[in-house]
Every structure is written in C-alpha cells, then in structure tokens.
C-alpha cells in the first residue's frame, strides 16, 4: 500500500505546481494508461522473492558439492542418491498411494455433498452446507491433533490408512466448494428436461450433470492430489512409523542434518505439484470453455 501511495503521490505532486489546464489530462494518462513504475517494480520484486527459494532448491539439487551455499558444477549425484535410497523411495510410493486414494475418495464424497447441497434447499441442508466449510477454515494443526486423538481413542493403529482417512476428511470440502460453484452456474432446467424426456433420476445425473461438471471434477481432483501430496501437518500427526509419507520423512531428515539429497527430493516434489496445478488451471480450456481454471480455484 505504502509503495503505491508513494508512486501515486509522486505523480500527483507535479500537477499541483504546473499550470491548471494540462494537468488533469497528464495525470489521467499516467494513472490509467501508463503503469506506475514503482508499483510495477514492487510487484516484480515480489515475484522474485516468491520464486527465490524454489529456484535455489532446484539449482542446488544439481550441485556437485555437498554445499548449500556455493555452487561448484553440474551433477546429478543427489538424484542418483535419491533413487537408490529405499527409505525415500518407499516414502514416495506411500505419498503417491495416499494422494491417489484420497483424491478418489474425496471426489466421490465431495461431489455427492455438492449435488445434495445444491439441489436440496431445506434448512438442515443449509446448515450442513455451512458445516462442510468448517474444515477449510480450521488450521491443520487442530485437524491433525483431533484426528490423532480420534484414532488412538478408537484403538486404530496409525498407518497409511489413517493418513488417508484424515486427508479425505480435509479434502471433501475443497471438492464440494469447487463442484458446487460449477453446479450453481448451471440451470436445473436441463435436468428437468432430461427427466421429462424419460430419464430416471440416476440417468439424469449420469448423462446430464456429470458431463457438465467434468472439468470441475478434473480440476478439483488434481488440486486435491497436489495438496495431499505436499501436506505435511496432517500426515505428521496421523502417520505410523513405516512407511512415512514423503513430507514427514523430509521433515525428520531436515531436523537431523542438512543433506543436498533433500534438494533433489524437493525438486521432484515441487515438479509434481506444479505440473498438476498448472494442468488444473488449463483444464477448462481443454474442455472448450473460455474461462480459466483460476476461477475454479479462487472460487470466483
């Protein structure tokens, strides 16, 4: 805010001293057509800082030396080490299984929730609709503690299964919000028409609604996969000892000693999520829609 105001203020001062007539035109051109240089520079700096840690991790994952501060020469030794480390590989597999199962589970439950909330307009469903949003605004540490106590209280041994259950609980709301946004944009006259033409309710869902919400399903599925794959806090509280999900394994390694192999793992992890998210952003276009996936994610 301050930088912009400074930019704005500096462009305003000349107009106060120069003759009255040309001033308004100049001011307007500056603020609307031209770009205030300070604001643009500030935003550019923001993006540099935003990407700096990512660039550093990727760069040093190719460092030949065991240093995180000086780059010697290009080498893939840390990747070789990663792909020969059985513990890390089993963690990678565990994370892929967790994300995949959690994605399918939360897609099914989240879509059911979205359909029911959007089409039943009773008081209980409105209350449930609000309740379904609560996990979105609950800090993960609270959800994690709660899930841990639930599982230990019920005597369920912590394992991949408990992580998956916790991740599904956390992801249902994401799917429900995204799919519901798509559904509310779509008139229910279409399914009415399908019903008039002799569809059973089940056929109306399968033939009319599902194809219409497919982009939202794909986008939210990819989003959930990426979120769960990266999720550290929930996994940390609900995982068993072996195999641990990748973020939990990385966390314990970071605390023990700093190893450049973490950079190689981190690069692979970030690559997976970034590709998934980038893909989910272009999904609506793949389905021939002009809107971008950003609307799906930001809920706009």
């Amino acid at each position: 805010m301050t930088t912009l105001d400074a930019a704005a203020a500096s462009s305003a001062t000349p107009s106060a001293t120069t003759p009255v007539a040309p001033a308004p035109a100049r001011r307007r051109r500056r603020s609307v057509e031209g770009r205030p240089r300070i604001a643009v520079a500030f935003t550019a700096l923001f993006f540099v800082v935003l990407y700096l840690p990512i660039v550093v991790v990727v760069l040093f994952s190719f460092n030949s030396r065991k240093s995180l501060s000086s780059f010697e020469s290009f080498s893939t030794r840390w990747y070789v080490q990663f792909f020969n480390d059985d513990a890390l590989l089993s963690s990678l597999r565990a994370s892929l299984v967790i994300s995949g199962v959690a994605m399918v589970g939360s897609l099914i439950l989240g879509t059911m929730l979205a359909l029911a909330l959007e089409r039943v307009s009773s008081r209980p469903s409105r209350i449930l609709g609000t309740t379904a949003l609560v996990p979105l605004v609950t800090p993960e540490i609270v959800t994690g503690v709660a899930a841990l106590l639930l599982f230990t209280g019920l005597g369920i041994k912590l394992s991949l299964m408990t992580v998956i259950i916790a991740e599904i609980t956390f992801s249902i709301s994401y799917v429900a919000v995204i799919v519901r946004g798509r559904l509310s944009a779509m008139s229910d006259d279409v399914e009415e028409a399908a019903r008039d033409l002799g569809c059973t309710p089940f056929q109306a869902v399968r033939l009319v609604i599902l194809p219409a919400i497919l982009p939202a399903l794909v986008a939210s599925g990819l989003l959930v996969f990426a979120l769960v794959f990266d999720d550290f806090v929930l996994a940390f509280f609900t995982t068993g000892v072996d195999p641990q999900p990748l973020p939990v394994r990385i966390y314990s390694q970071i605390r023990l000693s700093i190893s450049p192999a973490i950079n190689a793992v981190g690069t692979c992890m970030m690559l997976v999520s970034i590709l998934l998210i980038a893909f989910s952003l272009v999904v609506p276009r793949l389905f021939g829609r002009r809107d971008s996936g950003l609307d799906l994610i930001s809920g706009g």
């Binding site: 550093v56 439950l109 609270v142 599904i168 990266d230 973020p247």
Partner: protein
Amino acid sequence: MAASTRDTDVEPTRTRRSASHTRLWGWLLLPPAAWMMAFFVSSIIIVVLLSFGHVGPTGRPVFGASGANYAALWNETYLSVFLRSVVYASLTVLLCLLIGYPVAYTIALHGGRYKNALVAALVIPFFASYLIRMYAWSTLLSDEGLVNQALRWFGLSEGVRFLNTPGAVVAGLTYGFVIFMVLPVYASLERMDLALIEAGKDLYHGPLRTFFAVTLPATRAGVLGGVLLVLLPALGDFVSAQLLGGPSTFMIGNLIQQQFFESQNQPLGSALTVVLMIALLVFMVFYLRSTDRQRRES
C-alpha cells in the same frame, strides 16, 4: 425483503419437482454427512473432552472433568507464548496486507493482457511444498547462506544473524501466507467498477485521497477476507518457528506439537488446541459480524 420475494418466485418449480427426485438428493447427502460426523465433528469433540482429562498411571490419556490443564496454562511461560503467537500472527497479517495489496492492485489495474498469467504465476508456487520452501529459506538465511554472501559481496554488512530471530519467523509466515491476502483483494478489485477510481480522482483530487476514500472502502470485503485467511494458518503454524526460529520464538503450534510428540501429555496438548480454537473463533465471529454489518449497510 428482496431475498424473500425471490424465494417465492422460485417456489413453483421447486414443488413441481417429483418427490423421488428430491429424495434422491437427500440420499446423496447421507454418505458425506456420515463421514464428516464420524471423522471430523467427533474428533473435535474428543479434543474438547480430553482437554478436561489427565494422563493416567500407565501414561495413557484418561477422560475426566477437571480444569487442571487450563489452570496449568495460566503461567508466565505459556502466557508469553500465547502473546508471542498473537503478536507474530498480527504482524504477519499487517505485512501481508502491506505487501499483498499493492501487488493485487498492480495486477488488477495494470496487468493488462498478462493478468491471468500473473495470477497463475502467483498461485503455482503456493502449491509447491510449504515445507520445502521453508527449508529453502532456512538455508538461504543461514550465516553462510546466499543472502549473507550477497550482503558481504555488496559490502553492505559483515553478516547478519537471521535465523532464530523473530523477524525470520514472521518473514517465513508472511512468505507462506501472503497469497491468501493477494487473491481475495485481487478478486474484490476485479469486481470493482474502475470508473469509480476515475470519478474519485475528479472528486477528491489526487490518487492518495482517492485511494483512501474510494478504492480501499470498495475492497473492504476482500481485505477482511484476506485478514482472516492469513490469520487462521499463521496463528496455528509451527513449521516456520521450527525451521527459521528456535525455542525463543516458539509459537502455540510448537507447544501443541511438543505435548503430543515429546512430553506425551495429550490432555495438556488438547487444552492448548482448545485455546487456539477459541482464539480463532473469536476472530471468526468478529469477521462474520463485520461482513454482516457491511452487507446491511450496502
């Protein structure tokens, strides 16, 4: 008023629909609702119940009805951590606003045809593992890290101690959650009629006054949403204080994590979690009331 008339307009189509149809939707609600009850609502209830319990003789947590855990939190050590958490989280919110607003403003008003690409560029790194990005900062800010090397190379300083300082923790939180401020502010700027700014400039003379009299009030909803979205994760975070800070900068999240994984005192950890939940609920109620007031005003 307007809302209720609209409801009656919709009514005929709603009743026309066959009973079996509505029942189908009702059935669809059952599995997700049951899941959320079984794994979310019940788990939160357990946390609240266990916060009144104690550690049994075998080391296992036992339910009870004593306020001993809450009484134990009422001492200088815990209170200073609570205070620190609130101060760090508030500073984070302030920094996110001071950094996020200009960025959202620049993209929304001057992004031109790169607008969507810029927003995508904002969103994408947010999905790269938070843990890895925090780890990267811890290496960047270390005594021999690249930031200190750069400072030395430019002759600006002989080395600055970044890690284990409150500044590093707040910076880490700001870095991690600034996107939650940029997106809602951006969305509210996008919804705003830009002619208003033009009109404001003619009316108020000067972009600074226009900003405070027109733009900021018009984007109030986005700012409030951003404040809440940053505050929620910032107050509960423990990764930033763990990787960029030390015991002297620990926040409530670190205490919770310690009770569960080091001290094995789950009832005390539950009481800490309940305190965190109450603090967040207070902010949430405040947020809902202020958005409500805004809706009534407009």
